[in-house]
Amino acid sequence: MNLLDNTAFDMGDIDYHWCPGCGNFLIMNILKGVLTELDLKPEEIVLVTGIGQAAKMAHFTKMNFFNGLHGRALPVAMAIKAVNPELTVIVESGDGCTYGEGGNHLIHAIRRNINVTNIVHNNMVFGLTKGQASPTSQLGYVTKMQNLGVFVEPFNPLTFAIALNASFVARAFCGDKEQTKEILKKAITHKGYTHVDIFQPCVTFNKLNTFKWFQENTYYLEDTFDPSDRIEAFRRATEKGKYPLGVFYINPKPTFEENLAVYRENEVPVYKRKKDLEKVSQKLFSFI
């Protein structure tokens, strides 16, 4: 039980854009608790989000935020972390934003191993645009748009991230506050790119994957599961019927920022370093 005061991240009496009972509320409260327990301050964190109901998290929690474009949160996060590695950078958005519009950035954020936690609210449907299929919608799922039922292969974010040799890959269910909190804590404190796909119900548009459905169709990876075993992680990530939850894969490796030429021998954030015009002048001499 969390006895810490997480009101530092509260926005007070605001008008939430989410439906009553939305999984976003659960994730928001879990996140606030995690940040409090990790003793992070709102000024030290930047929450970068895209567009969609999940992405509005930036407006409902109190911290620095960059609420950018649909699908484009990761490049922004990469740059923020590269310019100022002292900040804790968290990306949060939905399945459509991250796995649809932002697909290419996801590939390369993982490849670069940017030191950012990417939290994906996965409710398997587009909420804000009123109920179209998302990349993670299940086969046969009928919507007004996909009126024959979804017939394209659902996107599996876990096998995808493990295939790219991501540094940290996990899945959680927002209905389990304690376990999700532990997973997020591990993710945020892990050095490198961390991917946390969080199952959540959409109470308005997804009548198939409900709160109860997620409860009945998920279970946790065993305590004996070894997250350093990539092949096994991949195999478990392919499981269907009942979906495993937990940390699938951990692969410590140097981060993007550590690899950048500017930080190889100097840890001072680049934005703090002063430019010396005398040096510019010397460089110009080389053009004589």
Partner: protein
Amino acid sequence: MKTSSFSVNKKDDISIVLAGAAGQGIETFENLLISIMKTTGYNVFSTKEYMSRVRGGINSTEIRVSSKRVAAYIDRIDILIPLTKDAILHLRKRITTDTIIVGEQENIEGALECTDCEVEVPFTDIAVKLGGKIYANIVVIGLIACLLNVEEGLVEDFLKQRFSSKGEKIVSNNIAAAKKGFELAKELKADQRIVIGLQKNPHVRDELLMDGTEAVAMGAIAGGCNFIVGYPMAPATGVLRFLAGEAVEFDIVVEQIEDEISGINATIGAWYAGGRGMVTTSGGGFALMSEGLSLAGVTETPVVIHLSQRPGPATGLPTRTEQGDLELALYAGHGFFPRIILAPGKIDDAFYLTQDAFNLADKYQVPVFILTDNYLVNFYYNFPPLDLTRIKIEHHIVKTEKDYRRYELTESGISPRGIPGFGEGLVAADSHEHDEEGHISEDLHYMRIKMVEKRLTKLKLLENDVILPELIGSETYKILLIGWGSTFHLIKEAMELLGERDISFLHFKQVYPLYPDLSKYLKKAEKTVIIENNATSQFGKLIKQHTGIEIDAKILKYNGLPFSVEELVEKLEKIVKL
């Protein structure tokens, strides 16, 4: 060596063209020769035209060596070195009866059909005897250096410097190759068949020799740039490549990004976090940045964009030039937001304007474009040292207080810009319409109106810092030539050749927002002539929109090549006589 019967006497301004296939070392030749000529005390200019391929095809480089300053492309060829069979055909229109064509037998076939001056030199045979085919270009360099009265020792020094890392053998072979070139040239000079009289000016040695790419990149460094990204695309990649080499020395985060959408979003993210970022691209890549540009607009995040134009639509002509993306830069991005577009015409301006772009972006929290093109980024010439006392890196970041509001409504329209982690406040950036704190707002009767007006006010404010157009020639004129960006030197040299006193030239290095009092220049002229390297006179349209004045005559070119000085003279003569 065999020569036709000829005798030429050339003064002041020599144009040397080397033409061959991609992969024949033309670029190394260009770099080496212009450095040698400049160190000798000659003014130099060089420009290349090349095909979009790694091997084969025909590429050519023009090097002007002159007693006076030169900075523009001319059609005339005084000395042509064809390195392939197709070279003469490729350049046929530019060859005259006194173009000296020097080359191997197989490459100069048909030369006498267009010139009287043919010199056959078995460059490859000579080079092979010296140790390998690769020395052929150095024999050519020796030959040209000697024809242009360069000291042999100076060429040797250059070769030593250039090849010292490759071992003594390579150095001595190169020196022997250059020596051979000198011997051949001495024969040509012996009976006064070729006389070239160029004046050496010792001051030229102390000048800078740079291309547009280097000037933009150095300008970025001097502007405090500490973040650069780009996706490889001609002709914009050079800037990214240059800065990659300076990453450690000048504290720059450099990344080759996955696509241009990422490029603009990342650059905006860098500024948000307190960095000074630039993204470098060409038209096709910039087209992908449209939404990101709009994001910079609504979030009021500074961003610097180097947009180096090439002809479109779509892939178009990847390695050719055009001033075709002015309207793209002007109108890209949905919704209204202010922006600044700078278009250097001179290499020093490419430096100063890029430097200033970072200050302007920071001050006004708007996107700033450096609009160059393939012609500008690839030409070199010597110019006097840059004046660094003229520049300053201006920062406009504030330390935030507890109750900081990123989009605080102010009289000027500019809200003090904080960055995360600096001060006690929280810093927001929001792509939605937002309130002063940066949170989503659908208050249509107050906040939306205030925020639109805030961004509009900034546009008006930008006019305070507009860079004045540069008037070349007399303040009183009958004919006013108008140009922008890379055509500066072409128009200037053409105007000088015309020698008419009643003509002046107005050059714009800031094309948006336009100089507010522009119509005073136009109204003074009996006739206005606009010169643009595009098909529809994009800048002329902007001037009309701004002043209501229709430009009288237009000289437009859109085949993918820059104007030549001669071509401009010919077209202007017709217009002037009307």
